[in-house]
Symmetry: C2
Subunit: 480 residues, 2 copies
């Protein structure tokens, strides 16, 4: 007897052999039609029960959420919406689901808000929406690994616990094995981290970039794909305290090559999703249409989900310097009419989400790569241009989502980097190893960071970042 | 002009077109032969300089470790050991490497101990040994993702920061955003974690298994591949405080299916390494032979590295119950002659590495899967057998390395699980969500954990686990 998953069966030909399937009951209509799902696909297999030949005791246990094993013959479907169905000869209830208990959970067959689903994150993945999101998330992750491996990159695991807090990319979580109530103290009354596990103060990483650079300068092309952390109290639909980031880093790439890589990479993974998640994306597209019905017309998406993904594939990302962008924004209607919350007054201003979205959605109407930002608003490791005031930074901006990628060409000149670190109060002593890369065979190199959850949001159309990661970590929230 | 990586060129045909390559100088002999490496392969490209036509100034800068861009024509090689070489027309030194400074680092061309290399972990990946290890590590990681995706698994990111410390799998690191010096206190003088970022005490995960189970019971087949942490003060060559773990979890799989999966999976990734890392494994095999020359004959490996990998592919893993294994051990020579450090006296004893290695290396002479362990020495979530004293646990034991996989069929019966949690003092309140899986459509399911670094050690022959991860975290060590 074969055990097959539904994804293997649903698009197959009727076999007329006896097969056994296992999964969970999604519905049971008229004591006759079981809609079975096993998580391998969003689709259900219709299993047709000849109820007169089944014991009442068993039929009563076939309830929503129950785990069952069903044996039968795969035949042409009589109903609509499926090509095959299972003519059931035997049902074994593996695990019941008491309807009275189910009623108290999100498994009950009625509309639940996304907030409510979040509270039962251990069960929400059994819903169509979250099944579709998490399958798509998985496929996107694989597409990322596949892209890089096909293109000669090496996957590098950057450390999660770091003794370095020199980057200044954000607030960090402390990691310690000390007894918080009675930490050992030094003579002058400070916490004695020499007594801690790592014999120094340690934090959770905010980025694997600096370590990835050390590997790029040896293996040529590398990428990280791992969790990163921010201890910022941002209780928004765009921020997580724990999120996954992809950071490619390439020796000998300048900023133009870096832009080429970002565009090619994003297009590859989006194409992969369109090709490999068709059923899930169709469902998510309809879900989004439904959700947006309650919004005023002008807040609805201009394009359907898959149209938007296709649009990204088919258009070149428009490359625009920061200086050009500031000119466009200064002369824009929302700026002149003071519709922006932050009015753009002069060169040097940091761009807010509203400005980025204006550029992408209203002005250029396509993904945009901004580059050559003012040095003052960017990190210490970005390469200084000859003008002495801009750096070789780039941000990729996407419709609906704003910044999806941030990257730069790195400062490869020892003296320039050291001077900048001093000016920005970053310890050269602590980052001696980072400076070493500029001492021994330095070369032009570039990379970028892509927030994985932002990508999943874009691909699935989910509005809240908490709904695209299994167990979101946000202020006040570390359940499960 | 094309920019190609060495891996694309070295096995290609002579092109007789002008090409440009970039990389780092490994050696420069007789002012004529540059051995160039760019990290894409362990091999170097021989670049032949007609020194009479080059400026002395440039030639002087072509030193070990320097980054260079070389233009020339790819021709049949005159020398041995390569099919093509580059007839150089132009050399551009991108980044120098001062020989006096190089001399002070592990980049200097002499033998350095692995300990010494570890201290300069940001540079060690530029050596042949670590380049080979890290490229192999990357390929193994990809093979893992590929295997699961080909087989219908979904990749699931388990949370890193967890509010649950219920598993008891090991000592945990605390994660906090509180000021360690002046933490807020409750009225009765305890740390007030309500004031912390997550409003509760949080730790770094020791395993994603429990969360993976929640996803398996919805999506069917899932796996995690992420970092896990142990705050145990184990300063050995087998332990890391931060390591990467792979944890597949499959609904409807019993322990036999779990064993099949583990064996099939391990064979797939090892075959992938043999097929895709030939040059690196050849180098590592020779390195190991060299290293073992200093060992007494009887401590040397019985097989060469690739023979050992091939051996795992070609042999069925021997499946042996714990009870059988105890009988074998009790009657073994080292037990009778008291050569074991821990003498096996009776059923119920926990097996030590020496016992595992005896079974694998001396008795069965092949990989072994032990199963049905005493309940008392295993975790609360493993399924109790009808004998009431053993559980459906399994460990896969490998030659030279001992346990590489630990897994089990999970206890799917609500009452049995609850009773066991109570007996083992595990909070049912805190793990309500884990119990919920047994309340709503429970079913047989199984999974296992594979320590990624152990696998990389096995595949590369590296004796110390600190040498198979870019930046090892161990007691007293969180550099870089």
């Amino acid at each position: 007897m074969q055990h097959k998953t539904l994804i293997e069966l649903i698009n197959s030909e009727p076999s007329h052999h006896e097969i056994t399937v296992r999964g969970w009951v999604r519905s049971f209509r008229s004591n006759r039609f079981i809609a079975l799902n096993d998580g391998s696909t969003i689709k259900t297999l219709q299993c047709v029960v000849d109820f007169e030949n089944f014991e009442e005791e068993i039929l009563k246990k076939i309830t929503i959420g129950a785990a069952v094993q069903i044996t039968g013959i795969l035949v042409e479907s009589q109903g609509q919406g499926q090509t095959v169905e299972l003519q059931v000869s035997k049902v074994k209830v593996l695990g019941e689901a008491d309807p009275e208990e189910v009623k108290l959970t999100i498994l009950s067959p009625k509309r639940h808000t996304l907030e409510k689903l979040r509270e039962q994150a251990h069960l929400r993945v059994r819903t169509n929406t979250f099944g579709a999101v998490m399958r798509t998330r998985s496929k996107l992750a694989f597409a990322i690994h596949e892209y890089f491996h096909k293109n000669g990159f090496f996957y590098m695991h950057a450390p999660i616990i770091t003794g370095s807090d020199a980057e200044g990319a954000g607030e960090m979580f402390h990691v310690t094995a000390l007894d918080a109530k009675n930490p050992p103290l030094t003579k002058d009354g400070k916490i004695d981290y020499k007594e801690d596990f790592f014999e120094k103060e340690t934090n959770l990483t905010v980025s694997g970039q600096l370590e990835a650079e050390t590997y790029a300068m040896a293996l040529g092309k590398v990428y990280t794909f791992g969790p990163t952390f921010r201890a910022e109290n941002s209780n928004t639909s765009r921020h997580l305290a724990e999120f996954w980031m992809i950071e490619p880093e390439v020796a000998f790439n300048d900023l133009d090559a870096n832009m080429d890589l970002a565009e090619d990479f994003i297009k590859y993974v989006i194409k992969y999703a369109l090709d490999n998640c068709a059923d899930d994306l169709e469902f998510l597209e309809n879900r989004l249409l439904e959700e947006e019905k309650s919004k005023p017309q002008d807040e609805r998406s201009a394009m359907k989900l898959r149209e938007k993904l296709q649009f990204v594939l088919e258009n070149n990302f428009k490359r625009v310097s920061y200086t050009e962008a500031i000119d466009i924004l200064k002369n824009s209607n929302p700026n002149k009419k003071k519709k922006f919350k932050y009015i753009i007054e002069e060169w040097g201003a940091d761009l807010q989400s509203e400005h980025e979205r204006f550029l992408v959605e209203k002005h250029f109407k396509c993904p945009v790569i901004l580059f050559d930002y003012p040095a003052k608003i960017k990190a210490f490791y970005m390469r200084l241009n000859d003008d002495g005031k801009t750096v070789r930074a780039m941000d990729v901006l996407f419709p609906g989502i704003g910044e999806i990628v941030g990257g730069s060409q790195r400062e490869e000149r020892y003296d320039v980097l050291k001077e900048k670190m001093e000016a920005m109060d970053i310890s050269a002593e602590e980052l001696y190893w980072y400076l070493d890369l500029r001492k021994f065979g330095t070369a032009t190199h570039s990379g970028f960071g892509l927030g994985f959850e932002r990508l999943v949001q874009f691909a699935t159309g989910m509005g809240n970042i908490r709904d695209v990661i299994p167990y979101p970590r946000t202020p006040g929230n570390a359940e499960f």
